[in-house]
């Protein structure tokens, strides 16, 4: 058996409100491709960021070739021979390709000056290894997303590291580029490099990996040799329900169609999505990160330019050029990132909740604060917002309470369609159930609800109808009653149903 090159023992990592990793053991061997899979938020990326020196774990130790090490910064990780391709592109658009590849490690010539020739040649050499035709002198911002992804990979390779971590390197790659990536991985393996490969696409795992470790809720569920496991059991391990969650009963009175989307396209991320939502119905949109879910929601709300396709509200075709149009057509959008896009942190609960409806609450051009206070107070009581007072700044509230404030904010503007993007992300279990109940209550009151979620139990548990997206397209639809997490996961990872 090969010796492990790097070993992580009992790694625990807490962020405010969540335990991202809970006593995780993980090891990676030289000359082996070790795949890491799990749902969004399972802790995969956090573990890799610890290995790359971005985070310091609260507990646990890291052994490199059997010796305990402390990786206190990305700089140190590089010195230890660890390189990482991050999930998000980490490149500077204003630098050239070559400068990006060697950022922070520019080859020095005489007097410690940058050796531009060596810089360019070095970049040319790694790009050549990847067999991509990119001019190293070109400014990065001029490249397409998939070309940039290849540059990101080149950057990691140029370190000649002993451990290469790839956090969803394939997210922006297609066909030929993907094949090249796999060739590079094979070459790394032959050179006795330890490759850690994170991916959502299970097909890739079976294609490149030797072993696979499954993460779930910050814990390792198990590590298996790839040749000894099949897809359905891997999917089952990924889902493996640990919490018994209570979902409200499904809706009974589905009314007339409120929202209809036909062949919506915008940019590269959304290439064809159709769906319909009825009164009293919760439609769940499932799909992996990057499958175009959020883009779809933004386009419906008017926050994203629509290239093709149409949105109909109550049968009437509408044009949505800005979120203001969305509001006018009685749409409400609860964004994924409540802290950045949903609430203004320095403002109070009342001010936040009244924000989108300020126009209607003016008298002689001034905000009628009495009316504002009254409306918000009613809404806050209805939603059971737990805050010491309405003048409390939202900064000091918990995630669940914040989500309710966002909800109050949209409800006050009287929407007929509510779009929830990850409604329960970062919220504790108790508050989750409350949010679900609120969503169901709203549906029962006749609102149409569109919900994007990465959490499969949530999708399956609460949706009346489920729409699955894969790479910018809607690839399947099924009623919530008969859906299973396996079916949804299969569609979301492969883009087509496998009859297993």
């Amino acid at each position: 058996m090969t010796q492990s090159l790097v070993e992580m023992r009992g790694i625990t990592m807490r962020f405010p409100g969540v335990t991202a990793l809970d006593g995780v053991d993980f090891e990676s061997r030289a000359g082996e491709v070790h795949a890491v899979v799990g749902e969004n938020g399972a802790g995969k990326s956090t573990l890799m960021k610890i290995l790359a020196g971005v985070y310091q774990p609260d507990r646990g130790e890291i052994l490199l070739r059997g010796q305990p090490v402390r990786i206190s910064s990305p700089h140190e990780a590089q010195l230890l021979g660890i390189s990482i391709i991050y999930q998000e592109l980490n490149l500077l658009p204003d630098l050239t390709v070559a400068e990006n590849v060697f950022l922070g490690r520019e080859p020095r010539g005489k007097f410690g000056l940058i050796d531009s020739r060596a810089l360019e040649l070095g970049a040319r050499e790694v790009l050549h290894r990847l067999e991509v035709d990119i001019d190293p002198r070109v400014r990065l911002g001029r490249l397409s997303v998939s070309q940039q992804q290849m540059v990101e990979i080149a950057k990691a390779l140029s370190l000649n590291a002993r451990i290469v971590i790839m956090d969803e390197p394939s997210a922006a790659l297609g066909g030929r580029d993907l094949d090249k990536l796999f060739e590079v991985i094979a070459a790394l393996k032959k050179n006795n490099v330890a490759v850690i490969y994170i991916s959502h696409r299970l097909a890739e795992v079976f294609q490149v990996a030797d072993r696979v470790t499954v993460f779930k809720d910050g814990k390792v569920i198990g590590t298996h040799v790839v040749s000894e496991i099949d897809r359905p059991s891997l999917v089952r391990m990924m889902i493996g329900r640990t919490l018994s969650e209570t979902f409200p009963p499904r809706g009974k009175q589905i009314g007339q169609e409120v929202l209809r989307v036909e062949g919506l396209c915008c940019g590269e991320k959304l290439t064809g999505a159709s769906l319909s939502v009825h009164q009293g119905e919760i439609v769940g949109i499932a799909g992996l990160v990057g499958s175009g879910r959020t883009e779809l929601a933004q386009a419906i709300f008017g926050a994203r330019h629509i290239d093709a396709g149409e949105v109909r509200i109550k049968g009437k075709k509408v044009s949505l050029g800005s979120p203001r149009d969305g509001l006018r057509h009685k749409l409400g959008f609860l964004t994924e990132d409540r802290n950045l896009e949903g609430l203004v942190m320095g403002l109070s609960v009342r001010e936040n909740a009244a924000l989108p409806s300020l126009d209607r609450r003016q008298r002689f051009g001034f905000v009628d604060s009495r009316a504002e206070g009254r409306v918000v107070a009613e809404m806050a009581e209805g939603l059971r917002v737990r805050t010491p007072s309405l003048s409390q700044e939202v900064e000091n509230l918990s995630g669940g309470t914040r989500q309710k404030v966002v909800l109050a904010k949209w409800l006050i503007s009287g929407p007929e369609v509510l779009i929830f993007d990850e409604p329960t992300r970062g919220i504790d279990v108790g508050s989750k159930a409350e949010i679900w109940q609120l969503m169901r209550d709203l549906a029962n009151q006749g609102k149409a609800i569109l919900m994007i979620s990465s959490e499969l139990p949530e999708i399956v548990g609460i949706s009346d109808q489920i729409v699955v997206m894969h790479r910018g397209c809607v690839v399947g639809e099924m009623p919530g009653e008969t859906a299973t997490e396996e079916k949804v996961m299969m569609l979301a990872t492969y883009g087509e149903s496998h009859g297993e």
Binding site: A52, V54, S73, P74, H75, A77, Q78, Y86, N90, L91, L92, P93, D94, L95, E99, L103, G104, R105, E106, R108, G112, L113, I114, S116, R139, G141, V145, K155
Partner: protein
């Protein structure tokens, strides 16, 4: 193969690309060129070599401090303490030179001033990176503290300079004023630093994205410290230059009084196309921005234009130029 019809689109493509990449420099040099032509054609007094050197000479004080400001803005910050740093260096230098005038003493004074400036720059950087105070406030606060020290030391203009010290501002090498050469050499060094040294590249990288720079293994705190130390160093040079020109020190020479070197240097840097927020830009643009300010003043004086009209024209140029820069398409919104 290459027919005329093929050449035209290629030319257009070339131009499009140049415009996409370097619209800031193109714009500022175009404005400079137009103003220069106006002067050459309309104002006989403008044409004399003496006047043209005057334009350059007038640019030196603002030029020196703006080179440093370029670094502070490029790294993602702003340095509003340069005005009071200039005053501090000014009053200390003239205060000391009033008593000690030997060559050795003057060298020591200059060295001491530079050390003081480097410490100021380091303090700015530490307040920003360790105490996490936004650069705008951090440098404004440090600037206020420095100004307090200045006024404790000297309440009114005074002091003197050592004999020969006036060479810095008034000396000539052949027909060329010494300070102009000094400025151009410094621009050259700064250009070289940003282009050819790793530290210089890291300044722009850190300004482009602190997170990405850090994840790439760059020690961003150290880089920020370099940038602000250079900024303070450049302010010290301006302070020394001003003592040479004025022959005395003034507690308000760096700001508050007539020239606001803090805000004027930021204006010159932005006119020169360096992006507020950092990541893109350089000293060649800054030099052009400084020359623009200096050229405008010269033309206004020669043409005897009402000072209030001058304000209006300057404001229009600043807003117009920066609006052109802002027309750059944003990098793919997330």
């Amino acid at each position: 193969m290459v027919s005329d019809s093929a050449r035209v689109p290629r030319l257009r493509q070339w131009w499009q690309r140049l415009w996409d990449e370097d619209r800031e420099l193109l714009t500022i040099f175009a404005i400079l060129g137009v103003l220069f032509l106006i002067g050459m054609i309309a104002l006989p007094a403008f044409r004399s070599p003496r006047n043209l050197f005057n334009v350059l000479r007038q640019a030196v004080a603002l030029g020196l401090v703006s080179i440093g400001q370029t670094m502070a803005v490029l790294v993602g910050g702003i340095d509003l303490s340069v005005g009071s740093t200039i005053s501090l260096i000014g009053v200390y230098t003239t205060g000391l030179m009033a008593q000690y005038t030997s060559l050795g003493a003057v060298s020591l004074i200059v060295l001491a001033m530079i050390v003081i400036a480097l410490v100021i720059g380091l303090v700015n950087a530490l307040v920003i990176t360790r105490l996490h105070v936004a650069p705008f406030i951090a440098t404004m606060g440090v600037g206020a503290i420095i100004q307090g020290f200045v006024l404790l030391y000297a309440k009114r203009p005074g002091g003197a300079i050592a004999p020969g010290w006036d060479y810095f501002a008034e000396g000539m090498i052949g027909p060329v004023p010494f300070p102009v050469i000094f400025l151009l050499v410094l621009v050259g060094i700064a250009f070289f630093f940003l282009r050819k040294t790793a530290a210089g590249r890291h300044v722009a990288a850190t300004g482009g994205s602190e997170v990405i720079a850090r994840l790439s293994g760059i020690q961003t705190r150290r880089v920020t410290a370099y940038a602000f130390m250079i900024s303070a160093f450049a302010a010290a040079l301006t302070g020394l230059f001003l003592t040479s020109r004025m022959g005395a020190g003034d507690p308000l020479m760096g700001g508050l009084n007539y020239d606001r070197y803090d805000l004027d240097s930021v204006t010159a840097v932005l006119l020169g196309g360096t992006r507020l927020g950092g990541g893109k830009g350089g000293v060649v643009g800054t030099l052009a921005g400084v020359l623009l300010v200096s050229l405008l003043n010269n033309l206004f004086n020669l043409a005897d234009i009402n000072p209030y009209i001058q304000w209006i024209i300057k404001g229009v140029i600043v807003v117009g130029a920066v609006a052109v820069y802002a027309s750059r398409k944003p990098v793919e919104a997330k």
